[in-house]
Symmetry: C2
Subunit: 477 residues, 2 copies
């Protein structure tokens, strides 16, 4: 298919055309001296105005890639010594077994870098509530100086001991330090599982919608993804059996507490049942519990994680410090049978030679019981206030456009438009109005869903963000 | 092929047999109640003594997996409720697209965890010379507290600025912060390149022998590896052309200063030539410069990195803080064209969501000019002393067994046995004597080469290590 500029893309059309031509020149597809089509001709071919092509040519003339002369048209500069010789990087960056982030998510990420755009997409503790470790506290916890040597491949032994205590106290999970792998956040744990325990072509089942759909990780690993339908109690667990029969599911991924993005909390009986089924079918169950501790102040505590019920090592349990205390530390953990932990530790060693030993030493201090409790308390009050603010603003501005859930924990609302809209267009409009959110499609939801996070922005900016979003929706409808 | 215990393996034969049976029981291959062969029969089948099988059965009886009764033989315990139900983890850990570390290297890694074994395999700055950042120094460099939020996907902007200055001052490399990606050590940079810029089936060329052969990374990515022969001036660069013609080489990996493991320093003219050839063939050149700054005190400085000659963005340049200052920080960097950096940053974000922000904040302080210079000076004196110690010890103990090079920099000697020996056996013997080294085969060298590092141990332990190695060689010859 012939290349055309993408009208949905954020990049202006003339920049897209200039970029395309530049790639063709640098790659040698258009060698020095090649005449270019007349502006009018190229405009017709691409379905754009002549002025657009004109602007593209002008940009390339300015950077010395093109030359023009009145009456003899435009051609690739003959003085591009060396241009043909450099590697065609384009051919490399577009290849590779590992897939790039989906364009829609990349747009959200880019918009998030702009401080003028109000961020209803970020699921992080606001910097106001991340504990800032003072130098005194650090020195107290790490002694006179930081050890800068490599740590153990599975992670700093003191940290693994601390994590073992922590998960026993907080979640009732029994694990020895040998059954724990320290990872660079929950993200790396999922990555290691997809790459080391599964093979291309393997089928896996996960909640639909699910955070996991926003990760090209699984597609990069060549896995086939199957959706498990959900209701307010959790996944329709018996579906696992049918999927297993039909597709030989090899692993099940779930996020049973404050599921991202729906906010659903699985009932106790669904938790038991999924474990029984996986045990019976002999399929490992991966439990992502990154949000599980974030009960909003005043709401009921959720049931214990599935891992706490797991006596036979069926569950690989994933959690981290990123959503509660310190995203930048990049400290997560994976709990599972020793043979699995050893295999993943070996792979991690090959990929990055282990997690920062400084981060690990600080994590021991952050997980100290009193500091942890104080922080969780702070976060749950913060999140409760923030969610109230957002819901009040929504009631005021959005009643006509959509409905939303009443979250018991975590960072976001899950909202459904009364009239489904093109997500890409809506996101475009919203960004133009100065607010960014996550369309449900990113998580594999059907059209018309939005995820709005309330954790990052101040009260005023949250309210203003909702106003801006309402404006985008208005001009849309 | 039927399974047999491996007589070369480190694990005792009876443990291998017990492990094998355990796997068969846990996987359900041998369900509860299955009778096992008589000890004599199994011993014959595996070619071992009856006592060996007896010991294996005993171990499994102790752990409740087997039952025996006088006169009625041995069977899989009938009381293993649940055993059949758990996932067959073995089938998962043995699968996966990502290959485990080579067994020989795993043995070295295991031996390295034992403090009684003298380590001539570790290529790290000894803890005596890694700078221990005091709390005062930290507070000076990072202000009142550490920012625990996520950093920029390409890395902390202040750190990238500092790296840009650093490589300009130290190596004459011109790069903007936008052309720099902060990675978890040089290792992760190589991993990202292999996974994101190359596709399964692609051919790459590298020095033979090379550190890269010790990494299953490239095989995991499905790449075909071709060796470039070397002499004392560096790689026979014209060979790249022939390889390119024969195999469509898509990338060239080199380590031109204090090459690991040979210690070779490429001449200035070879550096120019490899760049010209890659430019002409339009193949990217990956330059691993992790050891380049480690000139032994009193030796001549090596030529500048190839990247300093690269005006057209042909070279991807990789370096880190691991070999000079702080392995545990896990801070490395990759310098290349912006499009490549952006692609790799995106992949890194998916895999681990970025490098520890604490590590990055500390790295800014460590790269501060005066601290850096002081540290390099310290390391180069240390390495010089250590290499003298090792060479003196070798002359005293080893003249009859092998010859070795005279390194100008870095961490190790490259030694050749007068009589090639089975590497696995020699390593076994050495470990039994209480010393560990790296056989050349790990780097793809022909039989008879050894890499001995002198950086990690004290003077006394280095000398003792060489004595132990001589003893192993003696009993070998």
């Amino acid at each position: 298919m012939e290349w055309k500029p993408d009208r949905q893309a954020k990049l202006p059309l003339y920049r897209q055309i200039a970029k395309r031509l530049e790639e063709q020149i640098v790659s040698g597809e258009l060698p020095p001296g090649t005449p270019l089509p007349a502006e009018r001709t190229l405009a017709r071919r691409y379905g754009v105005n002549r002025g657009t092509v004109s602007a593209a040519y002008e940009e390339l003339r300015a950077s010395g890639l093109l030359q023009s002369m009145q009456g003899s048209g435009t051609w690739v500069s003959r003085y591009l010594w060396g241009v043909k010789q450099v590697p065609n990087w384009h051919a490399y960056t577009e290849g590779g077994a590992f897939l790039p982030t989906y364009p829609l998510l990349r747009r959200i990420q880019e918009a998030s870098l702009n401080p003028d755009i109000i961020n209803l997409a970020k699921a992080e503790p606001a910097s106001a509530i991340t504990p800032s470790l003072s130098v005194e506290e650090m020195s107290e916890s790490i002694g006179s100086g930081i050890d800068l040597g490599y740590s153990h491949p599975k992670g700093n032994p003191a940290l693994r001991e601390r994590i073992a205590e922590h998960v026993r106290e907080e979640y009732g999970i029994l694990a020895s330090p040998e059954e724990i792998l320290v990872t660079s956040g929950a993200q790396q744990a999922l990555y290691l599982i997809s790459l080391c325990l599964l093979s291309p072509g393997d089928a896996i089942a996960m909640e639909g919608p699910s955070y996991a759909y926003s990760l090209p990780l699984f597609s990069s690993a060549g896995l086939r993804l199957y959706r498990l339908p959900m209701d307010q109690q959790g996944v329709a667990v018996e579906e696992i059996r049918a999927l297993h029969q039909a597709h030989r599911i090899r692993m099940v991924f779930v996020n049973p507490t404050y599921q991202n993005p729906t906010g659903i909390v699985w009932s106790q009986s669904r938790r038991r049942r999924v474990l029984e089924i996986c045990r019976e079918l002999r399929i490992p169950l991966v439990e992502d519990d990154a949000y599980g501790i974030l009960t909003l102040a005043g709401c009921r505590k959720p049931p214990a994680p599935i891992k706490a019920l797991d006596e036979e090592g069926v569950v690989l349990y994933v959690n981290s410090l990123s959503k509660t205390m310190a995203p930048g530390l990049r400290i997560g953990w994976l709990i599972g049978p020793i043979s699995v932990i050893d295999r993943l530790a070996d792979a991690k060693r090959q990929m990055d030679f282990g997690t920062s030993s400084v981060s690990q030493q600080l994590a021991v201090a952050l997980l100290e019981r009193h500091r942890w409790r104080r922080q969780i308390d702070r976060v749950s009050h913060h999140l409760n206030r923030q969610s109230q603010t957002m819901r009040t603003a929504l009631r005021k501005e959005m009643g006509g456009f959509m409905e939303w859930n009443s979250p018991q924990g975590s960072y976001h609302l899950w909202c459904r438009l009364h009239k489904p809209a093109d997500e890409q267009e809506l996101l475009d409009l919203a960004i133009r109005e100065g607010v960014v959110f996550t369309p449900g499609g990113v998580y594999g939801a059907e059209p018309g869903w939005l995820r709005l996070t309330y954790s990052w922005e101040s009260k005023e900016r949250l309210e203003e963000g909702i106003r801006r979003l309402a404006k985008a929706l208005e001009s849309f409808c």
